[in-house]
Amino acid sequence: MKRTVELRDHQRELHYFQLRLAIVGSAVLFSFFVLLVRFFYVQVIQHDYYHTLAEQNRIFVVPVVPNRGLILDRNGVVIAHNFSAYTLEITPSQAGDLEKTITDLSALVEITPKDRKRFQKLLEEGHDFASIPIRTRLNDEEVARFAVNNYRFPGVEINARLFRHYPNGEIASHVVGYIGRISDKDVEELRAQGTAANYSASDYIGKVGLEQRYEKELRGVTGYEHVETDANGRSVRTLRSILPVSGNNLTLALDAKLQQVAELAFGTHRGSLVAIEPKTGGVLALVSRPGFDPNLFVEGIDPQNWDALNNSPDHPLNNRALQGVYPPGSTFKPFMALAALETGKRKASYTISDPGYFVLNGGGGHIYRDWKAGGHGYVDMHKAIVQSCDTYFYGLAQDLGIDAIHQFMLQFGLGQKTGIDIDGEVGGLLPSQEWKQKRFQQKWFVGDTISVGIGQGYNLTTPLQLALATAVLAGDGKVFRPHLVKQIQDSQTEALRLIEPQPRAEIHLSPENVKLVRDAMIDVTKPGGTAAGAGMNAKYLFAGKTGTAQVIGMKGQKYDEKNVLERHRDHALFIAYAPADDPKIALAILVENGGHGGSTAAPIARQVLDYYLLGKEPTPPKPAPKKVEPEPDDAEEPEND
């Protein structure tokens, strides 16, 4: 009995236990069901989301900066190229205490105060770029020393980067310009153009000169590498890469050696020279002195150098060839003569007797003086050009009238932008009645025309305009858009694209008239001409015209070169082309405060022409310009009232 009870109890207990087991079993099933739901949610419903996260985890898209196109001169001389170098870069957001990091780094690699300042400047400019260079061009030893200590510097890394280099330094600096780090303003512009993506991870963009104007050609197309990285950010392998497309190479019309000869010929003078090939409009040389070293800008210029360049009274950053406006002075005269011949206002044989001054009829009897006291005697057009007779051209200008002068000169490109293929060009000024009315709400006076006739007055031209006008004259009226880039070579197909070999306009000039002016200009460089010294023994026909532009009016005083401040001296001008019978080069020179065109500017032209036409290099230790027989050019500006 008792035993059965126990048995029953036992049975009941077992039952009870099994009930509990069943409960637990259900709990187990429920728990696994919860997991299943979770798996379904994460692995099926949210799969795409997590898939993306996993891909982002592992795949980094690394932009690959394309090789920037080269810039070569017409003979293949390298003007701008790239080289690879190591840079030490800091990513500020990861580096923590920057001061300390830099101080610690300086124990490993040399970091100059200049480097620090530049870093500070770039930091303040606040680009949203990842890393900022603290040192560039590390040598192998420095790279090794840092690599060993890399772990101590989070957010600091060494990168091999391509650097732009301008092997010629100052030579042609204004032409080539430079590239620099992309500024916030650049970024805005790129975004507006929709090309910002092409600049991802790239720090540089053309800022000035050809580097800026031909940015699109030189830039190339950024490539991308899809790099698989591990949790520590180390790249494991490249999954896919889209190769960058190198930028196109530019071949210039410019002759680097000629450019160098021209720049050196300036010595310590400030000024500008532009040489153009009359048959193509190609710019053979474009000088603006003083220049600057464009290499300073590539890695971000340090404040010290920047201040030196920016605050210099010589304004080395200004491109005088395009931006400097000067009265053309007597270099205007050949064009005036041609205008008179073409319009029939003068015959070449028309002769005046020059007393040394000109009296304006009906202008209240105002007197305009010639530069040569006592005058040139009997003067026809030829002599007027050769000796630069002011009196002759005063009368000629009056007969032509300002609007005829304006119209004629307009065709030669004076007083307007030439459309050269670098930015920053200014227009200058070619006065007219209409212009004066607009500008000053004033009537044009006849007296205004008189001084315009000798390239003074309101006339303002850039050296480039003057060179272009000379080239047009040399090329019998063919007008080209002056261009620095001759051809562009596609980096992929190596196909060449020629730039504008066709003239954009042709002025109909009578060959006879052109010849008259040319003959006079040839005689300018012959004995008796104002550039006789510079033209001595030239082995080619050398056509030229001197000029002088006044810097400040010497009211009532006698201009004496020796007694005025250097910066108040007249600017010397000279235009030329050669060989005059088959012009290969036309040029304009302006030497700031150089005094007389014949003595300062013309000798520069002679060196340039001798090199370009004869291959004659100037003797290196060149003494001060030889004193040639003084053939003073123009005199002070006559007073108009």
């Binding site: 109890d9 207990e13 009870y16 236990f17 099994q18 509990r20 087991l21 637990v24 079993g25 187990v28 099933l29 728990s31 696994f32 919860v34 997991l35 299943l36 979770r38 798996f39 379904f40 994460v42 692995q43 099926v44 949210q46 799969h47 989301y49 997590y50 898939h51 996260l53 996993a54 891909e55 985890n57 592992r58 698989e228 990285t229 591990d230 949790a231 520590n232 494991v236």
Partner: protein, 364 residues
């Protein structure tokens, strides 16, 4: 002759469990090969662990049940003494005092308690069979709490959790009244703030992180975020064996041990997860059947507790990797790399086998 030897050797091995365990171990090795970055060394190392653990399992399976009940108390006492020893003179590894250096070897006494606690409780309740009173449950609870507190102090939240679970399962299966259970629930809920204050900072962080892993993506939330990404990116069919990017590119921490499930789930997808869960369920089911058919209260409670502890391993680990449970150091049973946990788990399985194969010998 050979057949006879084989028959003798396998006499106490349960065929179902043996088969399931073998499949799971092989799955573990396959996953480990991938998780370890295709390291043969790791796989060979784990094979050695498996051999040792299987030997332990075989021994456990062959231990007669009456012997088992006899060692319950001494094992528990030794375990407790060793735990105190750890608290006093344990070695600190990774900021936790878990190991005890015995001179010739280092042991982790907390691991022992995963078996010793349910064993002792089963033995204790068996002694008071039919006259169980609430008092007994109170004592039972005390027998659980003391080692758990010692383990939690080390700190080793994962083991503490498993020991608690093992003890609780015995109490529950022994017939802990629902009233007390409800009361425990209320008391437990009320004591949460107190428990919270007892937790170490990093433990609290883990709980907070569970609630919002993105708050600390590179710190405490990193594990959960990366393992969830692994799971989710695996999708339904998985990325394929050896193709899991999360694992192979180092994004997953602890990917051969506690987080190996993330590797598995990434490469084999939800399909693989279902297969694995079915395998686990079969083991658990077999364990529950063994428990249901066990001859004595002692063996029933022990078998039930061991089986449910196995379940707890699997559930907590998968829950933690998939981001629904806080990160605690609980390995995926039979899959995760590591000798200690493997020995413990297979020892438990061995006991299950022993209970099953010796049951007729004890029949009254």
């Amino acid at each position: 002759m050979i057949n006879q030897l084989l028959a003798y050797l396998t006499k106490h091995l349960d065929r179902y469990l043996m088969g399931l365990v073998t499949i799971l171990l092989v799955m573990g090795l396959i996953t480990l090969f991938s998780a370890s970055g295709e390291s043969a060394d790791r796989v060979v190392g784990q094979m050695v662990n498996i051999c040792v653990a299987l030997a332990v399992m075989w021994i456990a399976a062959n231990v007669p049940l009456h012997y088992l009940s006899r060692i319950a108390l001494p094992l528990y006492v030794v375990g407790l003494v060793l735990l105190v020893g750890v608290a006093v003179a344990g070695e600190v590894v990774n900021g936790a005092r878990r190991w005890l250096n015995l001179g010739f070897t280092r042991i982790q006494p907390s691991e022992l308690m995963k078996i010793a606690v349910p064993l002792l409780l089963a033995w204790y309740f068996d002694r008071y069979e039919a006259i169980l009173k609430s008092r007994n449950f109170l004592i039972g609870a005390l027998l659980v709490v003391v080692p758990v507190l010692l383990i939690a102090r080390q700190p080793d939240l994962g083991t503490a959790l498993l020991v608690t679970a093992a003890g609780f399962y015995v109490l529950f299966l022994a017939g802990l009244s629902w009233k007390i259970l409800a009361g425990l629930g209320i008391v437990g809920g009320a004591s949460l703030p107190f428990l919270w204050s007892m937790l170490h900072d990093y433990q609290r962080q883990r709980v907070l992180t569970l609630l919002d892993p993105s708050q600390d993506p590179l710190g405490a939330g990193y594990h959960t975020i990366q393992s969830t990404i692994a799971l989710g990116s695996g999708g339904f069919f998985g990325k394929g064996w050896l193709n899991g990017t999360q694992a192979h590119l180092d994004f997953l921490p602890e990917r051969t041990t506690d987080f190996i499930f993330a590797v598995y789930a990434e490469e084999f997808g939800m399909i693989g997860n279902i297969v694995l869960m079915v395998m686990f369920l079969l083991v658990i089911g077999r364990g529950l059947v063994i428990a249901a058919n066990a001859p004595t209260l002692f063996t029933r409670l022990l078998a039930g507790a061991i089986t449910l502890t196995f379940f707890t391993y699997a559930f907590v680990n998968m829950g933690m990797v998939s981001g629904i449970l806080p990160v605690v150091g609980v390995p995926l049973p039979l899959i995760s790399y590591g000798g200690t946990s493997l020995v413990t788990i297979l020892f438990g399985i061995g006991l299950l086998m022993s209970i099953h194969t010796h049951r007729r010998l004890v029949q009254t």
